[in-house]
């Protein structure tokens, strides 16, 4: 990702766009934060929020006509939040917090002619920036028409206080009588405030100021305060003009362009999207006392603020919530991550934890795709050899195993051709071998020339960002399909379906559920109490399969309980995108959040979703449990362990092969026969540490006294396969061996031909100068 791509990503997420109120405030006051703070009763903090954007807060907060309210999202839901009234209540309740910070004095002097609101606002901004300002005012006091306001609208003391504060900022006030032409002709910068009575000599010099910069034709001269007396927003418009002119004057005095990258007033324009369809209308609070809100009224009124934000995606995604921000921020973190060549890649976990489920893309008003962002970042990491080796290790090993020891591709027994080819998917084969066989039988009843293909579609390689391995497997899959006579594929897995459709478009593929739905006689079974149907995330863009499943269920008379995020908006179970591999803790949280969305028993049609959701401790059924009553598993069945997934794949393959010729098929590895005794706590330990029974058997096989002796090569310790230690007192043994990228260890007792496993562990570090 380069800078420009980052900008493009950032621009897609509009979460940082201002809410209507802020966009509609000519001063950019953060009405959202202000309302939240008032609602919390923190008046002093709320005033501080106003002071951040507002000049002369005591005056402006009292007099602002609140043009922001025109753009408030509450408008149609009981009336705009009364920000104007709330500001008055706030400054009345909380006095100013003392001094305003002034930048170090600057040499260039500014003359202001006129003492009206626009002039005061300009003097405030320039004074803060360190310019010495001399302000000439009509009448006795600065302020122009502000001096004529009734006490309850603007207390004289408040005006006085704000004027005193201006003096603290380096503003000197002089009566208009002391103004000489020389003074303003020689000033380095000059502002003419038309919202005060100006001398005739000055008015004759006035031309129409530029509407954006408020510059006059005379160099270094600016003018504002031009609002009509009957303008609805007269006061705040003049304050705003003073501020805009101050920006220009500052730029002018620094020799900068008046217009370059100048942020224009938004007049309520914003890209922020905020969902309001769940919001109940609440009427605007009217103050009982015409002078303004009581504290209680103010708190109540402020609580009507909707806290306008987008966060459409974050609200529904555990992963996006887990990292504490929203996609715009994440895009930057991911960019920074790749920009750092060495050092701490803080965003590695962020990048590897997304389930690539694309729910965010569906919910986002701008189609921001965290999945694309993360997948691309993973591909870069793999290419640049920065991918943490352990992040996807287990899932990739699983894929390789399913593609070798678990793989099989045959025409149906007794046939030499395949008109269709059943590709159950490695997860279904590994978790539900009996159901896989029974589904195959059912498909063969519909089309006898249906071959079988046990394999993995390479989704794990794709999700891991491993483009090279992914491409290589796709090529092998395409070859395999060609060798079978290019039949149509039938798969029971939404991920396989998605991978084939997106990456092997020449291969015709359809869902087993679509096939079953098309044949009423093939979709029979027994209904249960209402079930909540959880669509797999990889079916998101596959309405056909989603509809087919519903057709099948309707035929069974199966009632469905509602589940909020379904169909196009469905949620991931936590397995997708290898989240489960890179961030198992988050994956469990995701599953827990998903099952918490319904009281009903859950039904899925993805074998992986079934086990992943069941891990959250709720009954979950798989579609075949309904369709194949003889092979049905109880909804409370525990998820299949990682060890069983492997051995069941092998068994399924063996069973299928036996249908062709009893002797066919690979002889089992010699270690497969070793008998293990694994207690429940050890099984849990193995699952958590991702250690397979297969791994342990290989270790134990190598640890055999004779084999060990034979394998020791004193000239090259690295060639030695394993080691074994004995505790002479307890008789405990520890065996170890390096298998692939990992060194595994097992502590056990050997008793009557059975290995009782005490514990097992592993590490990725390689031992040298000794040997495992």
């Amino acid at each position: 990702m380069d800078q420009q791509e980052l900008r493009a990503w950032e621009a897609r997420c509009i979460q940082e766009e201002p809410p209507g109120c802020r966009a509609g405030c000519p001063l950019g006051v953060d009405g959202r934060a202000f309302a939240r703070t008032v609602a919390e009763g923190e008046m002093a903090a709320a005033r501080a929020i106003l002071e951040k954007s507002m000049p002369l807060t005591g005056i402006v907060a009292r007099l602002c006509e609140a043009p922001c309210e025109q753009y408030c999202l509450r408008q149609a839901l009981g009336g705009a939040v009364a920000l104007g009234e709330l500001e008055r209540a706030c400054v009345a309740a909380a006095p100013s917090q003392g001094k305003i910070l002034r930048l170090p004095p600057r040499p260039k002097k500014v003359v202001v002619v006129g003492g009206g609101p626009s002039s005061l606002s300009l003097a405030f901004d320039l004074g803060k920036k360190g310019y010495p300002v001399t302000l000439f005012h009509s009448g006795e006091h600065p302020g122009g028409w502000l001096n004529r306001l009734p006490e309850q609208v603007l207390p004289a003391a408040v005006l006085e206080e704000e004027l005193a504060r201006l003096q603290d900022l380096g503003v000197s006030f002089l009566p208009m009588s002391q103004l000489s032409p020389q003074l303003y002709q020689e000033a380095e910068g000059c502002y003419l405030g038309q919202d005060d009575a100006l001398p005739g000599a000055i008015t004759s010099l006035l031309r129409q100021p530029d509407h954006l910069t408020f510059a006059l034709p005379q160099t270094g001269w600016f003018s504002g305060g031009t609002s009509d007396e009957d303008d609805r927003f007269r006061f705040i418009s003049d304050i705003s003009q003073g501020r805009e002119a101050a920006i220009s004057l500052d730029r002018f005095l620094q020799g900068a362009s008046l217009t370059a990258s100048r942020v224009a007033l938004r007049h309520g324009r914003t890209e922020l999207f905020t969902r309001t369809d769940q919001v109940t209308p609440r009427q605007r609070i009217l103050p009982a006392d015409p002078r303004g809100y009581s504290r209680g009224e103010a708190l109540q009124e402020a609580s009507r603020c909707l806290d306008c934000q987008c966060l459409e995606c974050v609200r529904h995604c555990q992963y996006l919530q887990a990292f504490g921000a929203y996609p715009k921020v994440y895009a930057r973190r991911i960019y920074n991550n790749s920009a750092i060549v060495r050092g701490n890649h803080q965003a590695n976990t962020l990048i590897n934890s997304c389930s690539l489920c694309r729910q965010c893309e569906t919910l986002c008003p701008n189609d921001f795709s965290m999945a694309d962002l993360c997948l691309e970042a993973r591909q870069t990491m793999v290419r640049e050899e920065r991918m943490p080796p352990s992040a996807h290790w287990f899932a990739l090993e699983e894929m390789r195993s399913a593609r070798s020891e678990g793989a099989l591709r045959r025409h149906a027994p007794g046939t030499t051709n395949s008109r269709a080819l059943f590709f159950p998917g490695c997860q279904l084969a590994g978790t539900r071998p009996e159901q896989t066989l029974a589904l195959y039988e059912r498909l063969r009843e519909l089309e006898p020339e249906t071959g079988i293909w046990l394999d993995c579609c390479a989704a794990p390689a794709h999700w891991a960002g491993s483009t090279t391995e992914f491409a290589a497997i796709l090529e092998q899959l395409e070859t395999g399909w060609s060798e079978m006579g290019r039949p149509r594929l039938i798969t029971a897995c939404s991920s396989c379906l998605q991978i084939f459709r997106q990456h092997l478009p020449t291969v015709p593929v359809e869902s087993a559920w679509v096939v079953l739905a098309a044949h009423p006689q093939a979709a029979t079974g027994t209904p249960r109490p209402a079930l909540a149907l959880s669509d797999p995330c990889t079916s998101r863009d596959d309405p056909q399969t989603q509809a087919a499943v519903r057709t099948i269920l309707a035929r069974l008379d199966q009632a469905l309980a509602p589940l909020a995020m379904s169909g196009e908006q469905t949620e991931c179970c936590g397995f997708g995108g290898l989240m489960e591999s890179a961030n198992p803790k988050l994956a469990r949280q995701v599953a827990a959040a998903r099952v918490a969305q319904t009281e009903a028993e859950i039904l899925t049609y993805c074998a992986m979703c079934r086990d992943q959701l069941a891990r959250a401790g709720r009954p979950v059924s798989y579609l075949l449990d309904l369709l194949l009553p003889e092979q049905a598993l109880p909804a409370a069945t525990a998820p299949v362990t990682i060890s069983a997934r492997r051995s069941q794949r092998r068994q399924l393959k063996a069973e299928l092969l036996a249908r062709y010729a009893p002797q066919e098929g690979p002889a089992p590895a010699p270690w497969e026969a070793l008998k293990l005794n694994i207690s429940e706590p050890v099984a849990v330990m193995m699952e958590e540490r991702r250690i397979l029974e297969d791994d342990l058997r290989q270790l134990l096989y190598l640890a055999d006294q004779k084999r060990l002796k034979e394998s020791i090569d004193p000239t090259d310790p690295a060639k030695t396969r394993g080691s074994c230690f004995i505790h002479p007192e307890s008789g405990a043994r520890i065996a170890s061996a390096r298998l692939g990228q990992v060194t595994f260890w097992v502590e056990y007792q050997q008793e009557a031909g059975v290995y009782r496993i005490e514990r097992c562990w592993s590490h990725r570090m390689v031992i040298q100068g000794g040997r495992p």
């Binding site: 701490n344 890649h345 803080q346 590695n348 976990t349 920065r386 943490p388 080796p389 352990s390 992040a391 540490r689 640890a703 006294q705 060990l708 002796k709 020791i712 004193p714 310790p717 030695t720 080691s723 074994c724 230690f725 004995i726 505790h727 002479p728 007192e729 043994r733 520890i734 170890s736 060194t743 260890w745 502590e747 514990r759 562990w761 592993s762 590490h763 990725r764 570090m765 390689v766 031992i767 040298q768 100068g769 000794g770 040997r771 495992p772």
Partner: protein
């Protein structure tokens, strides 16, 4: 990681050699980094014993640190 990781119970014997393990210096390599540590080693065939505590504690921590996980 520049330390000694000798378990409290050093009474382990190498099965192939029959020798009792002795403290010995061993190099642990990961992602281009090398750590020299003291571990129980077979004096005859240099087999090394890495305890569960070490593998799931300090070693895992360092592996993850080096992986920037």
């Amino acid at each position: 990681m520049n330390l000694s990781f000798l378990p409290a119970d050093m009474n382990w014997r190498c099965q192939s050699c029959g020798a009792t393990l002795q403290p010995g210096m061993v190099e642990l390599h990961y992602l281009g980094n090398v750590f020299r540590v003291e571990l129980p080693v077979c004096p005859s065939c240099s087999a090394v014993l890495i305890s569960e505590e070490l593998a799931t504690g300090r070693m895992l921590e360092i592996e993850q640190l080096l992986e920037d996980k």
